[in-house]
């Protein structure tokens, strides 16, 4: 009985365990089914996409970037093409398609020998990228090499080639700082722009118009859809999307003027701006030193690019909009405006120049003029750039009003030119001096300010804007470089850039006349009389900015020349030229000759 009881109990225990086992099996089968439901029914479409990605090897067809022309563009005519494209081939791959890392390495090794590129650098470049994304191994590969690779496809598995037009900058250095250049999209840029259709293998404008108008120029890449197996054997091929070419741009720049300005600045450092104050169109904008963009766009020139970046002359810096200089004597125009507008002064009032001005104080301090001028009215003071006159005038007006007018003239604001990277000038204040130097504003600071020295600094374009305001009776238009956006075939104008009035300074007629007359007098008989012989009447103002740098020769000063022509005629035809030459000795010596050459060119081109 006990025996059979035990047997029964054991049978019960066995049955219990069998049912437990059954339950576990049942649950685990359910786990499989739930996972299956999850994968096939819930995430099915996601996986479907991945499976398509697997078998579709999409070879991009890069869209040709828009061409860039100068202002004299005529549809159908013989035009000056500043930037164009030429056909070229890229070799690319998707690393994750290789069966193994060693196969990838083997293929790249063979390729590096054929292409004469560094194996290590190429592998490093590939490893830096997501293995599922297309990596360009080498750009601009010779057609003969492509033919070689194509005919030995089994030796180079998973290596694709696509033709990608290469940018050609036909004008060499001349347009480096205005048009800019393109380059491979960087990691940061990709993160920033990926949502807007940018692909990691694409080019992007890095500076200048190429960058600002990238969206207009780039077009839309197409692609060839290939059905491939795991070894990249092609089962079918079709065009997935035809590329759409980017739009073309017509600049406001005249390439002849640009070339003349560039030639005039040859060997110098500095910037030139030539613009039409009537609508803000920039005819030329040069910054020196510059670089041939054709060198910068090739990945093969990485070393050279790095050297240029570290060059102490900073060739990448656009001195027209990205550097500040003391305005020096050009700022005397602002002093004159403040004096006249506040009605404390009229242009016929005189000061006597003894060659120096003594600031009375606890200790008397002398401020010098470069010459003994004698008795001068305001016209003469502007023409001769007499410092003594403006020391006294500035002292009389006081810093608060001067600085208010400097701000009024927008010397501390951006001009909002249509290329990136612009900085503002700097207008100091009493507060600024207290905060930075822990000192109050001294009378000496006012005297310095009166001749545009000390804390104040401006950009060349900011100064050009200021002169435009004078020429254009107080109205300032946004300076711009692009005139029209045209369709890829140039047949239609997609957008015409309308001049945009950004400022209207209500200057009195007396003020405007005084400034214009003074500037004209400067060319006729004053500091810029070198230009007096030109057959159009030029008006201008020189400036010589002291720098803090210590140099052995006499070139310790920056040279300014701001000017416009023709004097006293319809502002519609007027052209403003601002020249800045770093370490150019003095405005009259360093900057005026540059302007002279440009005026000669403008005359010969029939601008006046």
């Amino acid at each position: 009985m006990a025996q059979s009881n035990l047997k029964l109990r054991m049978l019960e225990a066995f049955r219990f365990r069998m049912f437990s086992f059954l339950a576990i099996v049942f649950i685990l089968f359910l786990v499989l089914i739930v996972q299956l439901i999850n994968m096939q029914l819930v995430q099915g479409e996601e996986y479907m996409l991945k499976s398509k990605l697997n078998m579709e090897s999409n070879i991009p067809i890069p869209a040709p970037r828009g061409e860039i022309y100068d202002r004299n563009f005529q549809p159908g005519g013989e035009n000056t093409v500043i930037v164009s494209n030429r056909p070229s081939f890229n070799l690319s791959t998707i690393p994750a398609r290789f069966e193994s890392k060693s196969e990838l390495r083997k293929t790249i090794k063979k390729l590096s020998v054929l292409l004469q590129i560094s194996y290590d650098e190429t592998m490093q470049f590939i490893n830096e990228h997501n293995p599922w994304e297309r990596v360009v191994i080498k750009e601009d590969v010779a057609f003969s090499l492509i033919v070689k690779i194509a005919s030995h496809k089994n030796l180079f598995p998973n290596i694709d080639w696509e033709d990608e037009p290469v940018r050609v900058y036909n004008m060499g250095n001349n347009f480096f700082h205005t048009v800019g250049y393109v380059g491979s999209i960087s990691k940061d840029e990709y993160e920033k722009y990926r949502g807007r259709g940018y692909k990691y293998y694409q080019k992007i404008g890095k500076a200048g118009i190429e960058s600002e108008y990238d969206v207009v120029l780039r077009g839309t890449d197409g692609f060839i859809r290939r059905i491939v197996d795991v070894r990249n054997r092609v089962e079918g091929e079709e065009i997935g999307l035809n590329p759409i070419a980017g739009n073309n741009l017509v600049l406001t720049i005249d390439s002849d003027v640009q070339a003349a300005a560039s030639d005039a600045m040859e060997g110098l450092k500095g910037a030139v701006i030539v613009l039409k104050p009537f609508n803000g169109e920039i005819l030329a904008m040069v910054s020196k030193p510059d670089i041939d963009p054709n060198l910068v766009i090739s990945r093969a020139n990485n070393k050279l690019i790095r050297e240029l970046y570290n060059d102490k002359d900073k060739p990448f810096l656009n001195r027209a909009i990205q550097a500040r200089y003391p305005p020096a004597s050009t700022f005397k125009l602002v002093i004159a405006i403040s004096a006249l507008e506040e009605e404390k002064w009229n242009p016929n009032l005189t000061y006597y120049c003894t060659g120096k001005y003594t600031l009375k104080g606890y200790v008397d301090k002398d401020f010098y003029c470069y010459k003994h001028h004698g008795l001068l009215d305001m016209y003469g003071a502007i023409a001769e750039s007499c410092s003594t006159y403006f020391y006294q005038l500035g002292y009389k007006i006081g810093p608060t009003i001067i600085l208010k007018y400097a701000e009024y003239m927008a010397l501390g604001e951006k001009t909002n030119i249509d290329i990136p990277g612009e900085i503002t000038g700097f207008i100091p204040s009493k507060k600024y001096k207290m905060k930075t130097f822990n000192q109050p504003w001294y009378d000496g600071d006012t005297i310095n300010l009166s001749i545009g020295q000390g804390f104040i600094s401006v950009t060349a374009l900011g100064l050009a804007d200021f002169v435009s305001g004078i020429v254009n009776d107080g109205v300032v238009y946004r300076p711009h470089l692009v005139r029209e956006i045209r369709s890829p075939d140039n047949a239609q104008v997609i957008k015409r850039i309308v001049p945009e009035k950004i400022r209207e300074i209500p200057l009195s007629q007396v003020t405007l006349n005084t400034l214009k007359t003074g500037m004209r007098l400067s060319v006729k008989q004053g500091t810029s009389r070198r230009l007096s012989y030109l057959k159009i009447p030029v008006a201008g103002k020189t400036g010589t900015a002291q720098t803090r740098s210590v140099r052995k020769d006499d070139k310790t000063q920056h040279a300014w020349f701001v000017s416009y022509a023709p004097y006293n005629s319809n502002p519609e035809n007027a052209v403003v030229i601002v020249v800045l030459v770093e370490y150019g000795i003095a405005g009259a010596v360093g900057a005026v000759p540059v302007a002279e050459q440009i005026y000669l060119k403008l005359i010969s081109l029939g601008y006046f």
Binding site: M10, R15, L22, Q35, Q40, G44, K50, S51, A96, P131
Partner: protein, 438 residues
């Protein structure tokens, strides 16, 4: 020989399920052996059909001999199979660096497949023999040793996946055979602690995760681990001694978990020291295939894409891009289920899983109805073999189990596994047929 009434007790449900599923499998082997670019078939499906016919003959043959008589020879079968296995591991022709195949001239067989059945027989026999005493901890020693001998030989081949399948089979047999559940749980806990700690550490190191964490720092310091393990052991010993003198139940509640965790930590230190980095990483790649998109992670990623992209109705026979264009690896053997899921979708997958589960559930039913313990243990062991192969294989294709290279019984291409499975079916039929005979 059969008596006439026994003929009626042949499990036709089981037989039909098997026939259906093998034919389904052969269809899938046909599909995955097809090259859409060259437009040729590798003809593996014909071989599989041939093996199925062989297997069917074996299945019928096995039903003729009473399984109880077979059980009497289990010790000889076990020893014989181990010798063959050892011979294979030492002198077999290496295929992909694994000596798992024995070349018999016209065919190659894989002795490790048949070892599964031999082990089942001897375990069933032993557990039936020691039925009354199996609750003692020391009684677990002999079944464990019996299992470890073939496991070690197979590891020598080295075929990690096949070796590992023996462990859950042993546990199932011990569980069904009546071993103390707390003993089994203790062993599983020790193994769990021993494995999980080094895995987490390797993962963090590999993934380059920075940052310090109190718990992780503790696990990194092997000296500290040894210390804690020692203290726990000391507590366990004291509790055990107290338990010995003043028999109170709660001491048992102290010394058993203390010993378990202590041993777990101790082994985890050993594993941290003795498992090679690449071995630890291989297990990690299973946990996160994206860690290694070129290696075994590639297989899992491609398999998941194949399964997931199948959707509800599938892409159609011969139309699975993953399988047909070669993205799916090992598609006739290990990843055959992915082909089913891709080409026949959720519907086909569910049908296949249902057919497979019929076999497993039928095996458990036969175990429950068996007239003796030996038959019951044998049937549940066979169910376990089928079930763990199915679960691990399909789980692998779905990315929830590691890539171990285990075939899917009845479906994967491969003669040895198919014939072993057919013999096992024969044994199940055999047990069911004789359940009423006294």
């Amino acid at each position: 020989m059969f008596r006439k009434d026994e003929m009626y007790r042949i499990d036709y449900v089981l037989v039909f399920a098997v026939i259906l599923i093998v034919l389904f499998g052969i269809l899938m082997i046909y599909s995955s052996g097809f090259d859409p670019i060259e437009k040729v078939n590798k003809g593996m499906y014909k071989k599989q059909l041939l093996w199925f016919i062989f297997g069917f003959v074996f299945m019928i043959a096995v039903t003729f001999i009473n399984y109880k008589n077979l059980g009497d020879y289990s010790i000889y079968i076990y020893i014989g199979m181990n010798i063959v296995l050892l011979f294979t591991a030492l002198f077999g022709a290496p295929v992909r660096n694994i000596r798992a195949w024995l070349n018999l001239g016209i065919i190659s067989i894989q002795p490790s497949e048949f070892m599964k059945l031999a082990l089942l027989f001897i375990l069933a026999k032993y557990l039936e023999f020691r039925e009354r005493d199996i609750r003692n901890f020391r009684e677990l020693l002999i079944p464990t040793v019996l299992t470890l001998i073939p496991v070690l030989i197979i590891l020598k081949q080295p075929d990690f996946g096949t070796a590992m399948i023996f462990i859950p089979i042993l546990f199932t047999m011990l569980f069904v055979g009546g071993a103390d559940v707390s003993h089994l749980l203790s062993i599983i806990t020790i193994a769990g602690v021993a494995l999980i700690v080094p895995m987490i550490l390797t993962y963090r190191e590999w993934a380059g995760e920075e940052g310090s964490n109190f718990i992780l720092d503790f696990f990194k310091d092997t000296n500290l681990l040894f210390l804690v393990s020692g203290i726990l052991l000391l507590i366990a010993v004291i509790a055990f001694v107290l338990h010995f003198f003043l028999i109170k139940k709660y001491y048992r509640k102290i010394y058993i978990p203390a010993t378990v965790i202590s041993l777990g930590l101790f082994f985890s230190v050993l594993i941290q020291h003795f498992l090679k980095d690449y071995q630890k990483k291989r297990i990690l790649v299973f946990l996160n295939p994206n860690l290694d998109p070129h290696g075994s992670g590639y297989n899992i990623i491609q398999s998941k894409i194949a399964v997931g992209s199948g959707g509800f109705l599938g892409k159609g026979f011969l139309n699975g891009s993953q399988a047909q264009l070669g993205f799916l690896p090992e598609k006739t053997s290990d990843f055959i289920f992915s082909v089913v899921a891709e080409e026949w979708g959720f519907l086909g997958s569910i049908i296949m899983i249902l057919l497979l589960s019929i076999i497993v559930f039928r095996g458990i039913q036969i175990a429950l109805e068996s007239r003796d313990k030996f038959g019951a243990l044998l049937a549940s062991g066979i169910s376990a073999i089928f079930f763990f192969h199915i679960f691990i294989n399909i789980g692998m294709t779905l990315g929830i189990m590691p890539v171990t290279g285990l075939p899917l019984c009845f479906v994967s291409y491969g003669g040895s596994n198919l014939i072993m499975s057919m013999i096992a079916i024969g044994i199940l039929i055999n047990i069911r047929m004789r359940k009423f005979v006294h």
